[in-house]
């Protein structure tokens, strides 16, 4: 296994909050690497460090080294536009640029100096074909990208990212905003692309990780819990936390036994109410908590784990609210 991205002791902070804690891991070349873990665990932050998009976030700081092709991405003296060109990003929500379908794909090549109309035409066609969108849009390349369906927009974003001819494709939960058919479409394209590109996909959908990944990195609350080849991690995880995350996520698909809304409660009351709610459940049942106190997002899961319960997932559901799933153990 040849390493393509080498992450060495990376720490990331948002103001006072440490989002990544000393991550050291290698990402293999021309394979699909899935970064899994509950939302809020630092998956997207890690991805944003690769192309230094994290620079755009207020109060964000990163330390450590990320080596791609003998170049340290986190070194501020390098040409960041060149680093970003080598890494296509497929975002969580498709974000076509305010221009036509054609111009969306041609935008990247144009800024990197390709002016020849014929060459551009060829590239647009080539990458729309690779993204599996050409047949649907070949007659209306001049119409606005915003007129496409959301699934088509995501494939357009894929084509746009590929058109700058990157070596690495970063995907930040690329199917979470899509319907099942469009999601499947994207997954198929990614599987085809892995022969030519190193792909890193962030996902909280464990089924997707199982379907796609060759290599798995599990993060939890900013720490690297486990990493290794996908079959080893999924079938025989070394870490208890990975085991419970994988089982837990599969388990929660079965249903939630009780739901408690703790919005407006501060710590430690939300923890106390959560414990009371859990008390009424029998072992193995799942409790869903909704919290809006930022402290609760980390402290409630910690407290619950300290009590011996299993935290299945912590997920941000909108701008203020988080959903915590807990499986009663003792």
């Amino acid at each position: 296994m040849k390493s393509h991205i080498s992450i060495r002791n990376v720490n990331a902070f948002y103001s006072d909050h440490q989002a990544l804690k000393g991550i050291t891991v290698e990402i293999p070349e021309k394979q699909i690497t899935a970064i899994i873990g509950p939302s809020g665990c630092g998956k997207s932050t890690l991805l944003k460090c690769f192309n230094r998009l994290i620079d755009l976030t207020d109060g964000a700081r990163v330390s450590g080294k990320i080596i791609v092709d003998d170049m340290d991405v986190l070194n501020h003296s390098i040409d960041i536009t060149d680093v970003r060109r080598r890494m296509g990003l497929l975002p969580q929500k498709p974000n076509p640029l305010p221009m036509s379908i054609y111009d969306n794909v041609a935008y990247g090549p144009r800024i990197h100096g390709i002016k020849d109309k014929k060459k551009l035409d060829q590239m647009v066609e080539k990458y729309l074909k690779i993204a599996g969108l050409w047949d649907e849009v070949k007659d209306r390349l001049k119409s606005p990208a915003s007129k496409l369906s959301i699934g088509q927009q995501q494939r357009l974003c894929l084509a746009r990212g590929l058109a700058v001819e990157p070596e690495i494709i970063l995907c930040d939960e690329p199917t979470s905003a899509l319907d099942p058919v469009s999601s499947q479409h994207i997954e198929q394209q990614l599987l085809k692309l892995k022969n030519d590109y190193t792909i890193v996909i962030v996902t909280h959908n464990i089924h997707q990780a199982i379907r796609l990944a060759d290599y798995v990195i599990h993060l939890y609350l900013g720490e690297l819990v486990e990493h290794g080849p996908a079959n080893e991690v999924f079938e025989n995880p070394r870490e208890e936390r990975t085991r419970s995350y994988i089982n837990g996520t599969l388990f929660t698909d079965l249903g939630i036994d009780k739901e408690v809304n703790l919005k407006g409660n501060a710590c430690p009351y939300n923890f106390v109410y959560a414990k009371q709610a859990l008390h009424e459940l029998s072992k193995g049942k799942v409790l869903k908590l909704i919290v809006d106190d930022p402290l609760a997002v980390t402290e409630v899961p910690r407290g619950m784990e300290a009590d011996g319960h299993e935290v299945l997932s912590v997920k941000q559901i909108n701008r203020t609210d988080w959903e915590i799933l807990i499986c009663k153990q003792s």
């Binding site: 755009l56 207020d58 974000n95 640029l97 221009m99 036509s100 990212g161």
Partner: protein, 283 residues
């Protein structure tokens, strides 16, 4: 039942407010058209004023005021746009938007926005006196530019800030620089709002009388160069209305009507343009 009554009452109140707005606008337009239209002849639009505006002459037309106002309006709009757009773009988060300086710049622009135009006029007058320049078209254009800049910058700033961060990120991830992103994505996405900002500035510029009273003065002649004094529609309204004779006063309404038509024409054009540009915008 109580709540339904409440609902009806407040709906009525809102509709009443709307009626006041639309009604007063309608009345303004009606009065101006009613008073101005009868004297709107071809010669009114194609001849300059004869016989001295200050003597209450009724000969000739108001071409001098129309030409002067078009020069002042478009000249200052163009100049203000050239300065305001880069300034507004610099206030983005990607440039200096996060700094304390940006906060104070916005604050001072808001204050400048509220300063009465006669103060700009007085300022321009003092500066021109100091340099020994006499009242001229150029002085008026510069003062009107100063008047419009805070409006344009703040209005543009607001729409530019509304450009979604994801759009900029999409451009950055493709390896674009800040400049490329700003020019190709931000300006494009914010274009309808930028046009509105320009229109806001233009409306204030072409309609302002106080600031050009001292800096451009008024004349019956067409301006031959930027250093000549010139007439303008708002000042035509001001001078002609203050005459006792009703015939002269009617000419003031004709000037107001022309002013109204110019602003309306530009407004409709920019609506049309922005609808064409809107096609690609991400909502």
């Amino acid at each position: 039942m109580d709540r339904l009554l409440e609902e009806k009452f407040f709906k009525l109140l809102m509709l009443l407010s709307l009626a006041i707005v639309v009604g007063s606008l309608f009345m303004v337009v009606t009065v101006i058209v009613w008073k101005g239209a009868p004297v709107m002849t071809i010669s009114m639009l194609t001849q300059t004023s004869k016989g001295g505006y200050y003597l209450g002459g009724t000969e000739g037309g108001i071409l001098n005021a129309i030409v002067g106002s078009l020069y002042l309006g478009f000249g200052s709009m163009f100049l203000a746009l050239m300065i305001s757009l880069p300034a507004a773009l610099a206030l983005q988060k990607d440039y200096i938007g996060r700094t304390k300086a940006a906060y104070y710049i916005r604050l001072s622009l808001d204050i400048l926005w509220g300063i009465p135009s006669i103060v700009y006029g007085a300022f321009g007058f003092i500066v021109m006196l100091y340099f020994g320049v006499k009242a001229s078209l150029l002085g008026g254009i510069i003062v009107l530019t100063l008047l419009q800049m805070p409006i344009m910058i703040r209005a543009m700033d607001e729409v530019i800030r509304l450009v979604p961060q994801e759009l900029k990120e999409a451009s950055y991830t493709l390896g674009a620089t800040k400049l490329e992103t700003t020019a190709a994505v931000v300006v494009r996405q914010a274009l309808p709002g930028i046009l509105t900002a320009v229109l806001l500035g233009f409306g204030r510029g072409i309609g302002d009388a106080a600031s050009i009273l001292l800096t451009v003065n008024y004349t019956d002649n067409l301006p031959g160069s930027l250093l000549d004094s010139a007439a303008s529609l708002p000042l035509a309204v001001f001078f002609l209305l203050s005459m006792p004779s009703p015939e002269v006063q009617q000419r003031a309404y004709a000037s107001a009507l022309v002013l109204l038509i110019i602003v309306l024409a530009l407004s409709i054009t920019s609506r049309y343009l922005s609808r064409r540009f809107m096609k690609n915008i991400i909502r």
